[in-house]
Symmetry: C2
Subunit: 202 residues, 2 copies
DNA sequence: AGGATTAATGACTTATAGGTCAGTAAGTAT
DNA sequence: ATACTTACTGACCTATAAGTCATTAATCCT
């Protein structure tokens, strides 16, 4: 008659736990979050946590890796496949993509990496290779394509994709620290894109 | 005969302790740094720490506030007093100032604020008002002066001083996370300044 | 149904680090 | 010199949170 006190759901637990951990870390950071608190959010006991993740550190790494979005790859593919002009592509999909980042899980991961990165260099490497490096390469490729097509002229921008990323990073940090004193990050990114395009258009 | 085991130096202790704490926090972050470790670096006992700072948290706040550089004010004054053209001033003193930030204590404080800021909102406010807000105001003033003198034309840049700051922030974050994969932050900042000036020059 | 398997629990152990305080000795005044 | 003040020490206390494990019960299998 009595309902079972719990269900055994081996398949789903890891995801549920990392999702709960993500939320908890997002609110309080890694160091200030207790494993027991994550367990509570995930609706499991503390002991179970250690059945799926050997240590709190391993849980942390799992959380960070779970946010390695495939969106980056998606964007790269779109670059090659699109019919749009390079300028239209940058002002459209690329800009939209940029605008979404400050409110995305990526912002949380950036904060976690800045906080704890010193102690987990392999995790930083992982993120650099899978997100940063590929993202920059995608932008570089996009600009190069524009040059090949005669839409853009060669310039310093070609090997400084960071120019596109800078306003995104500032917006992320701003959101993390000063969400109270908000400013228009969308317009900010648009303006930067304008600056760059004005400079490189033929 | 025997040398005294310690000296009583009430005047100097606070500074020495915050300096030691700054170094320790810079290396390991706030949460991972033990009060005893700071005491060791400062060459004092753990007990003495609590004579000058009631809690670890208070020590943290003292460290952050100790880095509120007056350089910002110095820069503001220079803006008003200089004989240089606005462009020369930006390409000279302003750019030099920007280039120095990623290697300065400010970078450490930014990391600390990102890590622990959620728990110390008053500290974040303090930094916003004393550094961020004033810094942005100084840049805005500089651009406005250029417009008044007819050197610059009015544009979106006037009320987006963040455009100057973005490459600095990216460089700081890059230094914190990816110092292993270094890139030329100086050239990066120069290029951004070039972009902006090209756009706004009359 | 009943036995076997193992996901899941939660009370327990233990290490760590923040914080305290009774005692000590460096400096000062008389 | 001697008495006095107080900066300073370091052993100690204690709360917290990571990690363990004997036990329980949900599910599977025949």
């Amino acid at each position: 008659m009595s309902e079972p006190r719990y269900q055994r759901r081996k398949q789903d637990r890891p995801q549920e736990i990392t999702a709960a951990a993500f939320d908890a870390f997002a609110e309080n950071g890694y160091a200030a979050t207790r494993v027991e608190e994550v367990a509570r959010r995930a609706g499991v006991s503390k002991g179970l946590m250690y059945l799926y993740f050997k240590t709190k550190e391993e849980l942390f790494k799992a959380v960070v890796k779970s946010v390695v979005v495939r969106r980056v790859d998606a964007l790269i593919d779109t670059v090659e496949g699109t019919e749009m002009s390079s300028e239209a592509f940058i002002r459209g999909p690329v800009l939209d993509f940029m605008k979404r980042i400050p409110d995305s899980p990526v912002a949380v991961v950036i904060r976690l990496l800045i906080s704890e990165g010193q102690r987990y260099p392999d995790l930083v490497d992982y993120y650099y290779e899978n997100v940063v490096s590929r993202g920059l390469a995608a932008i570089t490729r996009l600009v190069e394509r524009g040059v090949e097509r005669g839409e853009f002229k060669p310039s310093a921008v070609t090997d400084l994709p960071h120019l596109f990323v800078a306003p995104v990073v500032l917006s992320v940090i701003w959101r993390i620290l000063f969400s109270k004193n908000s400013f228009d990050t969308d317009r900010f990114m648009e303006t930067q894109i304008n600056l760059i395009l004005t400079q490189i258009k033929t």
